[in-house]
Amino acid sequence: MIFHSLDFLVFFVVVVSLYWRLPHRGQNILLLAASYVFYGWVHPWFVILMLASTTVDYWAGQRMEDDPARKKAYLYASLAVNLGMLGVFKYYNFFIENVRELLAGVGLTVSPPLLELVLPAGISFYTFQALSYTVEVYWGHMRARRNAVDFALFVAFFPHLVAGPIMRATNLLVQVERPRVWNVDRARDAVMLVVWGFFKKLVVADNVGIIANRVFSHEDPSFEMLWAGVFAFGLQIYADFSAYSDIARGTARWFGFELILNFNHPYISHSPTDFWRRWHISLSSWFRDFVYIPLGGNRAGALQREANLMATFLISGLWHGASWNYVLWGLYHGTLVVVTRSIGKLLKLPEKWSGPLAIVQILLTVSAAFVGWLFFRETNPDFLRRWLVLSPAESTVLERQVGVYLFVLAGTWGVPLFVDDIWALGRERGWRLVHRAESYWEGLGPTSFSRALLQAAAAGVMVTLILVLRSRVSLDFIYFQF
């Protein structure tokens, strides 16, 4: 089931109406059942996979606690099942095709069968979330859980199931286990989050997505057209993915849950390191805690540390999809982080530049991040090679005009994102106007009529724009494919 469907609207209203009439345990059972309905709406067999992951992790957690001498074996069992599922459904064909090409290169012809499997939506998200539980139990950071419903709900909780944020057991599982309290002010904030999420998805992401899709469907775009397409895609993926996170967070609040912030204005980052503190935060921190630090993290020597970082980014790239372009994308970002950190240290530059230079620093960072989107978006290596050597000198006047037009058009649809980001920048940098406005807002208090009135006006304008400007071509959330 997808958020922007009437099916979901009915589903949500029914579930939330029943939910607050039930006691805590009943709420968890209802949410679990609802989550399985949500997940299995199109492909009921997806639920079987999730149940497999849930069962193994639930069992492994308990066994680790009951039989500590063999806890490593149980951890491996959990890793094998979760990563095995990912391997089969997501990476098997990629692996086989590469092995086949490799062997063909040395004159051996083999043709192992390829699988025609549908990639279950959200598998990369919920397996990582479930893994976080077994690893935390293995490390002794939390107790193994003994309530199957609670644990299954932790894995399946529908608001964030398909595209995150990836919640940790130490956070979400604890929320599952304790009674939730209806808070009407939070519910109102949740509506604002959901409306803003739908606005970003339907008005911004889907409209710029059309531009990106047109450019990346073109046999021979000019230099300007290509980079306008990359720019459009950079806006699309941010609007799209952060929209899903906002809708997930807003929906979860209606059930009394608080999901973590997944995007913190990544396009005002002042360095590649800062970008990864703001972009897909739940995944970045997952890789930091479960890959980078176990590899040695910062504790090793400088060279080892950079190698750990590159390895983490490479795996992170591969997590996004079974294709070399994602690996390249990961390596590109790893290189950016390593190089900029080294240069910063060498030249003793401050981490955050001040004054007008701050804008230069942000523009450089964001430009570098947008270049990375070319690797992310272009899955065909033949075309990627061509795009990387494309020159503006080869463009005709008309191609240049069309490129500029597409760039401006994408920018026009992106205006709400820019306003939101500039506002956030002002907040971070202590701009007086922003500070005053936010002080006024805070001063109103969560239960004031004026605050509700302003929210109503803002939500009304966003809904109006959704009704009028939503793209006529509805695109799936991009991260559904991961």
């Binding site: 009407v184 239960t447 509700a452 109503a456 009028v468």
Partner: protein, 400 residues
Amino acid sequence: MSSASSAAESSVPPVRPESSGSSRIWGWFLIAVLATGILVVPLALRPINRAVVGALPTLGYLPSLEIRRPHQPFRREVIEDLRAGQPAWVFIGDSMLGTRIDPTHLGRISTSGDELVSFLYHAATGPAWWYLAFKNQLVVSGARPRMTFIFFRDTNLTDTMFRLEGQYGHGLDEVASPSEPELDRLVASHRKGAWYRAHRVLDNLYEASLATSWMEPSIRRWWVRWREPRSGATEAFERNVDQMFSVDSLRYDVPADLAQTDTSTRPDFNRDLPTSVLPLIMDLSKQHGLPVCFVRVQRRPVGGAPPEQSPALVRYTAELKAWLEGHGALFHDDLGDPELTLDLYADGDHVADRRRYTEIFRKRLDPLFRPSAKARDTLGTVDGRPLDPARDGLSTVEGR
């Protein structure tokens, strides 16, 4: 549990206390304020629309489906062209036709070598467009071609709603008359759901689609208008952009025919026939003596073989063929043609080499293109004798 455990679990947000009775009522009131804002603010579109577009446009030729929007003009020049040209062959269809038949080449290789072939073609259209083009352009022109070919894929001939909604539906303007009661009746039979009614009520209430019709182009065009304010410049630029991103410019790994035929429901000819335009087309065909041949194109081969046909689709095709032939139409199925191999295809179901397909088509339907068949044949006859599909090479080839 270790101290690390306590630290990790303390990252959980605190439970906020439940509001007291009176503040809870106030909280619900504030939610009602928010909901009111969401419902009321969009009403501002109504006066804004009045200010921008003036009077409320009437509902168009499909009141069961349409929203209020300005319409594109009907293409009357097509009627004049047909009347003046009196084509020997008329082809109707979407990109399945456009990427397969080269009309100039077909004209050259048929009969006397200079016969006129007319195209009533519009990419990304469906049976509603084909029916209206047949009725409002071909029939009205008075032209009497020797054969009218209608190209389609799998089940979309009986899927009236195929490419009728959203951006696709606007293409109908160029072939529709101010009122299309028969088509509207068919559309209405597909549109009985509560959601659909609710959507229409909301759209009429807020006039959102009308606002879309002027606001979206304003956003799309502001830059070009600002750069080049002279009249017609924006349209010329948009034509250039469309040309630059036409189907011909698509890369090989991108399917152009993104709107595929409906595969979500099980094909069932007898279920779909009563709500399809097929009987309307056949009625017109008989009334005006216009012979029609329906051409089912072969979709993209898979693994060197024709695309797999589900038992339901095989049955559907057989029933369609029987019905068409029972009503005096011809039916030709490309499926399984040994010359229609994968190398002929571009992307998706589109064909890369129109000339080659045209020659294959000409060869397969040779009886229809024979010189002796030039004299006006009556419907369902070739060379004056009743048409024998098997003898004349027009039988379906399912199972080949």
